[in-house]
């Protein structure tokens, strides 16, 4: 799975995700990626999110929207919301999970509970960062 989230100069947020699913998946299976709120979500003033991992659990937990809800209803920061989802909720299901998210101020979070996640970001400081392992 691949994805991107961004904040532009107008203050608008956006998210995008694309995937091939998983190896040997049943024909016709649809995961979280194309489901708004599950694998992808964006709402101005709150955050934009793109998820990667076992899609069925992301769908049951409405994962991407869960991050936004934790922020907008619960007052959590982006860091708190994304860490809770990945390290508490998803790890509680014993599944590999990761996501990227950005808030209205351009802060980026990229938590994952697996050994690695291919990821990168250019923050508001303009510095490019790329990593694959922990």
């Amino acid at each position: 799975t691949v994805g991107a989230v961004a904040l532009d100069r107008q203050g608008d947020l956006a998210a995008a995700t694309s995937t091939g699913g998983f190896n040997n998946k049943p024909a016709g299976r649809v995961g979280d990626t194309p489901i708004v709120g599950a694998g992808t979500y964006a709402r101005n003033g709150v955050c934009a999110v793109s998820c990667t991992g076992q899609g069925e659990v992301f769908m049951r937990r409405v994962a991407a929207y869960d991050v936004a809800a934790r922020m907008s209803y619960g007052g959590q920061t982006l860091r708190q919301a994304t860490d809770t989802l990945v390290f508490d909720v998803m790890s509680g299901h014993k599944i590999g999970a990761g996501l990227i998210a950005i808030d209205a101020f351009g802060q980026v979070c990229a938590p994952f509970n697996t050994l690695g996640m291919a990821r990168g970001w250019i923050g508001t400081d303009g510095v490019l960062n790329v990593a694959t392992h922990k």
Binding site: L7, K25, M117, G120, T124
Partner: protein
């Protein structure tokens, strides 16, 4: 006026060092960087976040190192069925496609669903036909296949035949 920022991912998993060579890892990182720069170029020119995330994902879909587009995982029937979606935080507009087999860049099809239809999600042959009708490039399904994915599918099917599917690693299941 906000300072722009962008983030991308190419999937999470075991990323075991022995699954690919150091040259492959270097190319993986180079493609991540290229995706970031594609989106960043749009953002710094005053373009929209929506255009930036689409551009970044297209680069990742075109890379053989990620499970999307060229390089995607295979189904049990040895074909590719691809899913994608995009969402505009400014309007909550969204578009998605699922189980598409022919659109070269599914994220562009998702964007077309958002911008040029009354729907949020289109599936299968209808989604492929819709994207084709909007002028998006199509490819034979084999375009998405890489040798790594063929081997991964063969490995998992062999495990299933031996009755050891439960012992399959995360890398074998998800890449």
């Amino acid at each position: 006026m906000s300072l722009p920022a962008i983030a991308i991912h190419g999937g999470c998993g075991t990323l075991a060092a022995n699954l690919q060579s150091e040259a492959d890892w270097a190319q993986t990182r180079a493609h991540l960087e290229a995706a970031l720069r594609a989106g960043w170029k749009i953002l710094t020119a005053g373009g929209s976040a929506l255009d930036a995330v689409e551009a970044a994902v297209v680069v990742l879909e075109d890379s053989p190192h990620f499970n999307a587009g060229h390089g995607a995982a295979l189904t049990e029937q040895s074909v590719h069925e691809l899913d994608a979606s995009i969402m505009d935080g400014a309007t909550l507009a969204a578009g998605g496609v699922c189980t598409v087999r022919a659109i070269r860049n599914p994220i562009r099809a998702a964007r077309a669903v958002m911008d040029q239809s009354d729907c949020v999600l289109l599936s299968g042959d209808a989604a492929d036909a819709f994207a084709r009708s909007k002028g998006l490039p199509t490819v034979a399904n084999g375009y998405f296949t890489t040798e790594r994915r063929v081997q991964a599918l063969a490995s998992l099917k062999a495990r299933a035949a031996r009755g050891t599917i439960g012992l399959a690693s995360e890398a074998e299941r998800h890449g």
